[in-house]
Amino acid sequence: MAALGARRLLRPGRRWFSETVPAAPSPPAGPLYPPVVASVTAKSKAAKSRRLQRFNQRVHAAATVEEKLRLYGKLQRPKYAVYPQTFALNADRWYRSFTKTVLVPGMPPRAAAAKAPVAAAGTTPEAGGAPEPGAEAPGAAEAPEAAKAPEPAAGAAAYLDMGELRSIVCDALLQESFYQKKKRPFLYRDQDHTPGPFLTQLVSTLAAFLSGRNPLLAASSLDLNPEVNYYWHHGEEVVVHGHRKGRVDPVRFQIDDNPHLQIRVPKQLPEVVPLESDLGDVPVIDHKPSKLPLFKRQYENKVFIGSKVADPCCYGHTQFHLLPDKLKRERFIRERLEDQIEVVYRSNGIASLFAWTAAQAMYQGFWSEADVTRPFVSQAVVTDGKYFAFFCYQLNTLALTAETIKNNPRKNICWGTDSKPLYDVVEDGNVKGFNDEVLLQLVRFLLNRPTEL
């Protein structure tokens, strides 16, 4: 009753005790106040993590890959300059720990239509690529070890003429070292005089010769003396001195590499092992990277595979590295560091290939917060003109920063061989002691292609 009376006293239009359900809730159903988050500018750990999150969101939301790369490398701070070709002792262990790489000695088993096992004589790999019935391949693999390896290989693969390839290689070698009249090599520039041009000739003629067999090579792009750069964070350290003293910073690395030659292709090489495979252990080094010795510098954070993002040939196939005069074998032998000779080849292979594959992955839009969804595979040949070492690298993860590495079981894998000589000596227009295995491995590298081609 009192309520009724009260209602009549109310102004018309105001339905205070109205029975009807309001049409829409006038305040929004969500929270009444903006979310309570850490500040952006405070000097606190929460603020720092919020700033990092905002940065990550900005990079995630970048429209183009160029924009992403620009934001990724925008902040310049002192970073370790990692040199793939280095004389540092046991550098390959350090590089493996920086890049979370597992080193597997020997070459990866080729798929070979998944039928024939890896043959010691190396006859099978061609069969895997050559379009023959699979029945021939096991036959060739069994036939094997009585292996005058070239002849059965030529028979089984039916196209690969070892004699022809050998003559190409020998011609290139003789042309550079014997036939062409050159002046004497400049001091400490022996590598530019003969092995450099030899490598260029060799690769260009071999690639052209094999392009009929490998359609990927026919669409490839050959770079002479390209530049490959990659910038990444791995681990954490405390800033030692300066106005930022005491803050926890990621350890930054940059690789700036100049391979002698590289072949880039428009399609990716197939993966060698599945993405989540574990083939070994990554060495853990308790020292600071500067103990390697590695030095810090601050300059532009570049990520570059050899050409810009707009290039259709954005995946890598094979790189060829020439070791400089400073790292020649005689020098190591003279200083009684024979075991470091292989370390030089390995560190060059691991560092260069990591930089290349990681840069390729970044060109596709992946980065440490957005890890790769498919493995990136590339190959490299490291040589000093006579000794050749072959490397194959599979990039499984880019997440190497301190936060992302915590729950990341994936590791990058590098297969590598020891260095073997291609020939013994060149005398009087003859190449003595030619090693067919090395040539075969090189040819296998160049013939590598995705399975659908």
């Binding site: 000739q201 260009s204 026919a218 050959l222 530049e227 570049k302 290039d311």
Partner: protein, 313 residues
């Protein structure tokens, strides 16, 4: 100072024919070689050299000129998947050439770094027929009276009359026939580069020098009319403009002014593309010129490839 080609013609006793020889034209027009598909690849090659090759915004001429050349040669070389005899070629960089001859009692010599030389195992067959060669007898070389034809040439005391092509022929060098010479004008500063006319003259002189040295190695030092003319090709570029030349040496008898002359076919000033825009040009918030290569001429690349394939196809 002078239209250099005319002077070079007199010095080498050569008759000029405009355009490329019919043999090369035939290779260009032959559809079996699949030159159409290569257009796309050639365009990529140009874009790579001019736009994508460097981490900076735009590469300089010293960088893009050799890279463009390498890319084009790479495409040409990949044709050896189709024509296996193309692998019988060898590229020699920084080779030095020296050749000597007498011209109306003036001793002339060509020496120097002639750029990049491509040798092959088999010689290029003669491009001009016998009748054309004989017809050159009637052709009169133009003289530049009163200007001496050796103007602008450096006079030196030569102590050794050298004739060699930078490789050791006698030792059974398999790639003994000079096939094509490549000249890259890649200096950044325009004044350091040869202008097209001078570049053509330089190409002619070096092609002649190579052919002469080869002829003397094959047939001896006596001046005579060659039974098998020696053909040497030459391509010169500054990264955008291409000059093509096919030179046929018919005679080594260069002392007199009559008789059979040598022949040269020149196709000059072929643009491979009009403009390479690295950054899009924007006027008043509107993109007027998009980034990329504009005005690509596939014919120039076809000529390049035809000259490359000439002799094996």
């Amino acid at each position: 100072l002078f239209p250099g080609v005319r002077q070079a013609q007199w010095l080498t006793k050569t008759k000029l024919v405009e355009g490329l020889p019919p043999a090369v034209q035939g290779i260009m027009d032959d559809p079996a070689h699949g030159l159409q598909e290569l257009e796309e690849r050639a365009k990529h090659a140009v874009s790579h050299a001019r736009l994508w090759d460097t981490a900076q915004v735009a590469p300089r001429r010293e960088q893009y000129c050799p890279v463009l050349f390498e890319n084009l040669i790479h495409i040409c070389r990949l044709m050896s998947g189709k024509y296996p005899s193309l692998s019988k070629r060898m590229l020699a960089r920084n080779c030095r050439i020296a050749a000597t001859w007498e011209r109306e009692s003036i001793l002339l010599q060509v020496r120097g770094l002639s750029g990049i030389l491509m040798n092959s195992m088999t010689p290029i067959p003669p491009v001009a027929s016998k009748e054309e060669i004989l017809a050159t007898k009637e052709h009169v070389l133009e003289t530049f009276y009163p200007i001496a034809p050796t103007i602008d040439l450096q006079e030196v005391n030569v102590y050794k009359e050298l004739n060699d092509t930078g490789q050791c022929f006698g030792d059974g060098y398999p790639y003994s026939h000079p096939h094509t010479l490549f000249f890259l004008e890649s200096a950044n500063v325009r004044t350091d580069r040869f202008r097209p006319e001078q570049l053509r003259a330089k190409m002619l002189m070096f092609a002649f020098g190579n052919a002469l040295a080869k002829a003397k190695a094959l047939h001896g030092n006596d001046p005579k009319v060659l039974e098998q003319p020696v053909v040497v090709q030459s391509i010169g570029t500054d990264g955008q403009l291409f000059q093509f030349m096919v030179f046929q040496l018919n005679t080594t008898d260069l002392v007199s002014n009559d008789g059979v002359k040598n022949l040269v076919w020149i196709d000059s000033d072929q643009n491979l593309y009009e403009k390479a825009q690295c950054v899009p040009e924007v006027r008043k918030r509107v993109v007027t010129k998009p980034a990329g290569i504009s005005g690509f001429q596939p014919d120039t690349f076809k000529k390049f490839l035809a000259l490359y394939l000439h002799g094996t196809v």
